[in-house]
């Protein structure tokens, strides 16, 4: 179990703890105003200075000895902050985790608060200028998005029933988008995203700069040597480069160190050679998320 589950999971996974989806939290921390302010100015987050620093050229800054480590530590402390959120212009308490399709469906079926919507992904918009509806929001977030026209998809129906939401997330996952669930801000969960690297502003700090902005899933992928036929279809779906082809063995091998446990590669395998196993069951990875 990851750090977040230990602290906020109530004995299970943190994102399956229904308390984090309740409206009580919204009222307690006055999150309506906070989220409205945050999402009105969302795209500015990376260029707005925080303690005198903004995100421009962050990659160079984290490479500086000592100072780089201080910046990383500060960023991680901000992201995993459990204090009541105060500044909507910072990504305070906005920490997430990769979830495989089964857990994403469980979230939508059992935990997500009504109303459920699917909005345009802001990460794809701010890094590519492309509007693609694939971000599922619930609870108060849905009411906020109703007021922000740039996040509302033009063509598709965006207010969804629970069943429609499950259908959409399944379709995105099969395309190869990574399911991720986010505290935004802690302790409220309102985002179930279908991310793509390098556009995703949440995955990017970890992959490119080594800032732990997202936790790996509670699972890792395992490739069964006997079932793999060597078609290599799964390799193209992995966004983290965890799957590779072994010319010697004539089968796909997994680098579990790189695997985030999103499980999208399973959709490519027609022979059932890929399956998710709990990360805990790997003694070497226990505690590494």
């Amino acid at each position: 179990m990851c750090e977040l589950c230990m602290k906020h999971g109530a004995g299970g996974k943190w994102y399956l703890n229904a308390r984090h989806y309740s409206n009580e939290i919204v009222e307690k921390y006055n999150l309506r105003d906070f989220l409205m302010e945050q999402y009105t100015n969302f795209e500015q987050m990376q260029v707005r200075p925080v303690m005198g620093f903004n995100g421009v050229g962050l990659g160079y800054r984290v490479r500086i000895p000592i100072i780089g480590r201080i910046i990383k530590g500060f960023a991680e402390r901000m992201l995993t902050s459990t204090n009541p959120p105060t500044n909507p212009f910072r990504a305070e308490g906005h920490i997430g985790q990769v979830v495989p399709l089964e857990d994403a469906v469980a979230i939508l079926e059992h935990c997500a608060a009504e109303p459920i919507i699917e909005k345009n992904c802001m990460c794809r918009f701010m890094s590519r200028g492309i509007e693609e509806a694939c971000c599922i929001n619930f609870g108060v977030m849905s009411e906020i998005i109703d007021k922000l026209p740039r996040f509302i998809p033009e063509k598709e129906k965006y207010h969804l029933t629970r069943r429609e939401a499950v259908e959409r997330i399944t379709a995105h996952n099969k395309k190869g988008y990574i399911g991720t669930i986010w505290f935004g801000p802690f302790p409220y969960i309102n985002n179930l995203c279908s991310c793509a690297s390098p556009e995703c502003a949440g995955i990017r700090p970890r992959v490119d700069y080594g800032i732990k902005s997202i936790f790996k899933a509670e699972y890792v992928i395992e490739a069964h040597a006997d079932k793999c036929t060597g078609c290599r279809a799964c390799i193209s779906l992995c966004q983290f480069g965890a799957l590779s082809w072994s010319w010697t063995l004539k089968r796909v091998i997994v680098d579990q160190e790189k695997c985030y446990g999103c499980g999208v590669c399973r959709h490519a395998c027609k022979h059932g050679a890929l399956s998710l196993i709990p990360r805990d069951s790997f003694p070497g990875f226990d505690g590494e998320y």
Binding site: T40, N41, E43, Q44, Q46, V47, R48, G55, V56, G57, L58, G59, Y60, R63, F125, M126, S127, R128, G129, I130, K147, L148, P149, R150, P198, E199, R204, D208
Partner: protein, 85 residues
């Protein structure tokens, strides 16, 4: 890669006061493999309707990931991008 890459965008040509709206052009955003650029509202912009902002500009944020391929410089219709190192 040796040295630090600097990417500057001439906002007189592209952006909130320029001729081109980066939301409709967006060539630099899409041509860049590592997605170095960010499309955002200018800081401190005064909007008629803050929920529906009309002013947008492009800034190169993830400079350390730039491979200096110069595609953004070549393809920018307004010649607003300069890459130096």
């Amino acid at each position: 890669m040796k040295g630090k890459t600097k990417i500057s965008i001439d906002y007189a040509r592209c952006g909130e006061s320029g001729r081109v709206d980066p939301r409709t052009c967006g060539i630099c955003l899409r041509v860049c493999g590592p997605a170095v650029f960010l499309l955002h509202q200018p800081l401190g912009a005064v909007e008629e309707n803050p929920y529906k902002p009309r002013q947008w500009r492009v800034t190169a944020v993830h400079l350390s990931l730039c491979t200096r391929c110069m595609k953004c410089v070549e393809l920018c219709p307004e010649k607003a991008v300069t890459v130096t190192w």
